[in-house]
């Protein structure tokens, strides 16, 4: 009967019959939900990403991100392409949300451990090597420069940075790159021990930072941490802005968020907004919209697999880079550093530090190096953002 025919055509069943790969997408979404909910892989982002991917893949729902005529007004985008494209083209593709999330990250970051072990901050640099080596390999296997850079930045092990860079350079790869970045950040408890085992020996892992501090005490004790914590984000923010202006949207807002936190009660309202409502709201819409970019035809490509593979390599090389930087340093310096401090230069704050700490404790139950790891860990965030800035200023 015709009525039932109309009813059937209203459903998404026929479309899925015609395009069975849609089913695969839905299953992938379920799998990502499983990882986020049951395996606790960065649930704050993987759950919205996976759910956005799920609802984006039902034909007729109009919740999938599409290529659109970029002359349309946001109002026209919403009317003609639905609310998800409205969110994507107003908040994501504009590059707005990642810096906003960085502001929230800054408002939750404590530079104290880094200030107490300043020289360790230097080791956030070596751990960016994975970004550029994978960039080169990606070019060799045929990605263009912008795509290769977006792939490499996964090795920065920092979600907002990876997303921001990809938006600026290769937005069509946003979905898989975001998934890879957050998945591997969630897999840090697996990846770091693996790489560390391959690149270090027991003797190095036994290096006790506290002992080293006792042997070679720092000459400049911090007398007024409160004031220092207020001046530091201003100083470092200005420094980075001067040297890598294109990283200001990320580093500038990170430092602003941190500043309103450290000032204390008088800017408490701003700190609350940055670290609570703004951060949480931004996370929801970023996650849903990034997930919504992963429609069947956009996601089921060879590129996606290469990104997943390349992302892993980038992570591994970054960790190894950090480790070897410490080894080289130890050759020259009397005050030794535990190579785990290099590994945490990866960023992936704070999980990398916790993992490094556990590894150290496994080899010596008295070797607590969490505070030291946090130093290179946080500076790794700055490192990735700087690397991103370089890529953006030369490629966009």
């Amino acid at each position: 009967m015709d009525l039932l025919g109309k009813l059937y055509r209203m459903t998404a069943i026929q479309n899925i019959v015609d395009e069975p790969q849609i089913l695969l997408m839905i299953l992938i979404a379920f799998f990502l939900l499983y990882l986020g909910i049951k395996k606790q892989y960065e649930p704050l982002l993987l759950v919205p990403i996976a759910f956005g991917m799920l609802i984006a893949n039902f034909p007729g729902g109009g919740m999938g991100v599409e290529k659109i005529d970029e002359n349309l007004t946001l109002y026209q985008i919403a009317k003609e392409h639905g609310i998800m494209n409205f969110v994507y083209y107003s908040l994501i593709k504009t590059g707005f949300l990642p810096p906003i999330i960085f502001m929230g990250v800054g408002a939750l970051t404590d530079f104290g451990p880094m200030l107490r072990n300043l020289r360790l901050a230097f080791f956030g640099a070596a751990a960016q090597i994975g970004i550029f080596t994978v960039l080169i390999s990606a070019v060799l296997i045929g990605f263009d420069l912008k795509e290769a850079a977006s792939l490499g930045i996964i090795g920065g092990a920092d979600g907002p940075t990876a997303i921001y860079t990809t938006i600026k350079l290769a937005p069509h790869l946003l979905g898989p790159i975001a998934i890879a970045a957050y998945s591997y950040m969630a897999l840090v408890p697996v990846i770091i021990p693996l790489v560390v085992r391959l690149t270090t020996n027991k003797k190095e892992l036994l290096i006790n930072m506290k002992q080293q501090d006792k042997l070679f005490p720092s000459k400049t004790p911090i007398k007024n941490m409160q004031t220092l914590k207020i001046l530091f984000p201003i100083g470092v923010g200005s420094l980075v802005a001067l040297l890598v202006p294109s990283s200001v949207p990320l580093i500038g807002l990170l430092m602003f968020g941190n500043l309103v936190k450290e000032i204390g009660a008088s800017t408490g309202r701003l700190h609350k907004a940055a670290s609570d409502s703004i951060l949480n709201i931004a996370t929801i819409f970023l996650g849903l919209a990034v997930g919504a970019t992963m429609t069947a035809h956009a996601f089921l490509k060879m590129e996606t697999l290469l990104i997943i593979a390349g992302g892993f390599v980038a992570f591994a090389i970054s960790i190894a880079g950090g480790v070897y930087a410490v080894k080289v340093y130890n050759l020259l310096a009397k005050k030794k550093i535990n190579p785990l401090i290099g590994a945490t230069g990866l960023s992936a704050v704070p999980m990398a530090s916790r993992v490094a700490n556990e590894i150290a404790l496994k080899h010596d139950p008295n070797n607590h190096l969490l505070q030291y790891a946090m130093a290179s860990n946080i500076s790794g965030v700055i490192g990735s953002a700087v690397a991103a800035g370089v890529l953006i200023s030369f490629l966009s």
Binding site: A107, D110, G112, L115, L118, R119, A121, F122, A125, Q128, I129, I131, F132, T133, L135, I136, V139, L140, D144, L145, A148, A149, T220, P221, I222, K223, N224, M225, Q226, T227, L228, K229, L231, F232, G235, V236, L239, V240, L243, V244, K261, E262, I263, G264, A265, S266, G268, R269, H271, K272, S275, D276, S379, I382, G383, V386, A387, V390, L391, F394
Partner: protein, 82 residues
């Protein structure tokens, strides 16, 4: 060598040089600030920053007080009672 490869290589060099340079100067800046603060800022303030302990609670308190006092009250200092 193919142009894209060469530019990829120069990105590697420029990128890593920049990252090392920036983080090196971050260390320098940090040490500079530590020295400056140690010299010029009275240690009076050197109490643990309330913000770093519980900004959330403080924000709440401020908000509450602002509302209750309709902005007539103002927090000037919040100290832990020993």
């Amino acid at each position: 060598m193919e142009p894209t490869i060469s530019s990829a290589l120069s990105l590697l060099l420029i990128g890593m040089i920049t990252v090392f340079l920036v983080l090196f100067l971050v260390v320098v800046t940090g040490n500079l600030l530590i020295r400056l603060v140690n010299r010029f800022v009275s240690e009076e303030l050197a109490q643990p920053s309330p913000a770093s302990i519980e900004p959330n609670k403080l924000a709440a308190i401020t908000a509450a007080i602002e509302t209750i006092t309709q902005g007539k009250g103002k927090i000037t200092k919040v100290e832990k009672v020993k």
